[in-house]
Each structure stands twice: as structure tokens, then as C-alpha cells.
Symmetry: C2
Subunit: 250 residues, 2 copies
């Protein structure tokens, strides 16, 4: 049994927002303000240098809650948001900034640092899922999806590969180096976002990670533009993807 505590609650624009901790890890659960029985849960993971309530997280959650009636949860990654940085975190972040300033490739540093964080984050996501499925409005057997880009993919791919409760996932914007082996064990439907002109992730690397997934249903969405220029309409596509896989009675 994991220790789930709700620490704050607000509600606005039809969305109920509850802060929680699971075994001390801080997270947030967004739900329809007016509950109507059980609903699917989408677990999200934020990007590097970001946190559980960043605009990207809150925006995606709002779309999934109001558009589909889903529950959406995110936890802070290790060293992110309300969680302390370790000396190891500080060293890796300093090394990333140094490489960036020197015009050196960021990939090797991001790949190894994100893999390190994922080792800790994967069991935290599993504990979060265990705890949230104890809530009557989510329940143990309902559909669960995963949605994470950038570092959220570095955490999500090993998580989904080892977690049979995840029935569909949206990933993207990462290197295959540390993830391809886990991706080969994933068979659920996936949608994968890639930037066609990514200045950090070589095109062949992004395509190789997409190629690695064993899923019979997998869709690559590759958009013209640089790493940070993922078009906003890809959120619409992700919402459509989850709505297609987790249909709800109107």
C-alpha cells in the first residue's frame, strides 16, 4: 500500500485540481469538476527543467479533462519542481549548460541524465498509479494512458515497457540510445512526435526510436521545425488519440 495524501484542492472552469503526495513525491491530479462515475486516467510526465504544473502540463490536462472527461495526473520528476536537487543533478545540469554554451551536442548528456532520473522515476510512477487506482473515481481496472515528451519519454518508455496497465501512450522528442530496447517491449498503440529539423536529435535517431516500438498500431507525427517548435495542434492530435482508444459514453 502506498501512502496517498491530498494536500490542496481548487476548482475552476470545470476542472478540479488536487495536489497530492505519494510516498512523499508531489503530484497533481486534474479531474472533471462534476464527477459522473469512473473515468480513464492519463498519466503525464513533464519535460526536463520543467515541473508538474508547467503551462504545457496544465494546458494538456485541461484539454483531456474538459474534452474527454478523463483524469490526468503528473508527478514532479526527481530533482524537478518541488523536489530537491542532488549534487549529481547539479553536476549534470551544469554540464548541460556548459555543453550548450560551448556549442557541443547536448544529446549525450541529456540521454545519460534522463536515463538516471528514469531509474528513480519509473517506480514512482508505478506507486502513483497504484495509489490513484484506489480512488473510487478511477478504480483498479479502468483504462490508463501515458503522455510524455522529451524527458517525459525518457521516463515513460521504460515505465510503459514494464507496466501492463498502460493501454496507449503518446511519446516523442528523444534519442534511441537508452530507450530502443525498452521500446521493443512495448506493444500498445502509440503516437510518436518528432521534429523534422530537430537541431539536437538527428532525424535518423528520432526515426530509429519510432521504428523500435513493437506496437502493431503506431503513428509517427513528424513536423517541420526545430526541437522546441512542436506545433500546438499536436495536443489536439494526442487528445484525439486518447479519445479514440478510451471512448466514453457521452
Amino acid at each position: 500500500m502506498h501512502s496517498l495524501h491530498f494536500t490542496a484542492e481548487t476548482s475552476s472552469n470545470g476542472v478540479r485540481e488536487r495536489d497530492f503526495t505519494v510516498d512523499g513525491v508531489p503530484g497533481v491530479l486534474w479531474s472533471p469538476a462534476s464527477g459522473t462515475g469512473r473515468a480513464p486516467l492519463i498519466l503525464m510526465a513533464h519535460g526536463g527543467g520543467n515541473h508538474k504544473k508547467s503551462p504545457a502540463m496544465a494546458g494538456r490536462a485541461h484539454r483531456l479533462v474538459t474534452g474527454c472527461g478523463f483524469h490526468v495526473a503528473v508527478i514532479d520528476a526527481p530533482g524537478h519542481g518541488d523536489r530537491p536537487r542532488t549534487p549529481h543533478d547539479e553536476r549534470e545540469i551544469a554540464e548541460l549548460f556548459r555543453a550548450r554554451a560551448a556549442g557541443e551536442p547536448e544529446g549525450p548528456i541529456v540521454v545519460r541524465y534522463n536515463a538516471h532520473l528514469a531509474e528513480q522515476a519509473v517506480p514512482e510512477y508505478r506507486a502513483t498509479l497504484d495509489a490513484l487506482q484506489e480512488l473510487p473515481e478511477i478504480g483498479p481496472g479502468g483504462p490508463v494512458g501515458f503522455f510524455g515528451l522529451n524527458m517525459g519519454t525518457a521516463i515513460g518508455v521504460p515505465f510503459v515497457a514494464s507496466e501492463p496497465r498502460i493501454a496507449a501512450a503518446v511519446f516523442g522528442l528523444h534519442w534511441p540510445d537508452a530507450l530502443a530496447d525498452a521500446a521493443r517491449r512495448i506493444t500498445v498503440p502509440i503516437e510518436f512526435d518528432l521534429q523534422w529539423d530537430d537541431e539536437h536529435i538527428p532525424r535518423e535517431s528520432g526515426l530509429a526510436l519510432f521504428d523500435a516500438f513493437a506496437s502493431k498500431e503506431k503513428t509517427l507525427h513528424a513536423n517541420a521545425g526545430a526541437h522546441k517548435e512542436l506545433p500546438r495542434f499536436e495536443v489536439d492530435n494526442a487528445v484525439l488519440f486518447f479519445a479514440r482508444h478510451f471512448p466514453r459514453a457521452a
Copy 2:
């Protein structure tokens, strides 16, 4: 001035269907049954061996008319539908069937035959657009899109490259050999469908055609599966694409 004649009209499920000819080429125009002023036009082109009222065409048109309130028009390609085959058509089709039965690559035959048909079809599409823009419910200045896969892309890429009235297009499922040069002249937003495990079009060839488009906004949708297994949900995405580019007051 092109000679537009309406030859038949039916209406069902909120969709008005009018058969027409432009300079003798047969086509069909689907429109909202209850007209409310001008609306955008989507020109579609059918695939090889198919025709203007095939289930794929009627299905896509129905979605665009009822979902977006657009007009949708298709004409029979040369040698297809209600149009006679020439001896050249017969030879190329026989050659395609022979190659298929012998397990030889279809690509070289499809590429050259479709390029031959496109030479005739491109001016026919231009004439159709000229004629349809004379209709008060479409008009001369409104948004026009193009939607064609397979042979519809072989016709559509040279058509859109030479037709400044097309503001957005959905293409896919073809080889770059005869199309990449024209694609490099296309700058309007495009969505491009590709099958990741296409047994006829090598993956690198499909990616090369997507890469060739000069569009600042371009999105590749690559799906796991064989040539004919394009998922039905890609029609939803195409509808979303056109709705995003041609927004209408509700």
C-alpha cells in the same frame, strides 16, 4: 470560359450531390444540403484503378461536408471511372498486372503511368477549379484545398505546385521519382501520409518525398502497416487539418 454542366442531382443525409462535366470531363460536387453563403472548396483526386464516387471519395467528402460545411469535388482521372481507356492505358495496366503476378516491383510502372496521366489531369483540375469558382456558393476568392493519396498525389503534387489558388493540401503514398521537383515548389501547409511498412514504396522513398516539400508547415503521418492499411482515422486527421486552415464561423 470552361463549359460546366450539371447532369444529375440527389440529396441525402444533409449532403447535396451534383454530377457535372467540365469540358466533357465527368465530376461530382458534394455540398451542404442547406446552403448558407460561400464555403471553402476541397478538390480531391482518387487513387489508381478507382473513380470519383468510390467509397473512399464519397466517405471523405461526406466527412468534409457534414463536419466542416465545405464543398468537395472530384473528377474522374483519364482512363478511369466514366472515361474511356486508351490503348496506352490498356498497355500500362496490363504491364502493371504482369509485374504484380510476377512478383516484380510495381513502382517503376506506377510512377511512369501516373506521371503520364497527371500531364492530362493537371489542366483538367485547373479547368474544374475555374468552373467551380464561377458558382456563387464557392466564388472566386475563397479558400481551396487539395486532398489526394496514391495516384491522387501523383496528380496533386504537380497541380498544387502550379496552382496558387490551393492554400493547403493532404498528400501521401507515392514515390519521389517523378514528384520531388514539383514538391520543392510547394510552400503551402501540407499533411503527408506514409505507411511505415509499405511493401511497394521503400521507407526512404516516402520520407524523401515528404522531405522535398518546401512548406514551412508540413506534417508527416507515418503509420505502421502495409501499403493498403492506411488507418481510417487518418481521414479524421485530414478533416482536422482542413478545418484548422479554413476555419468557418459556426
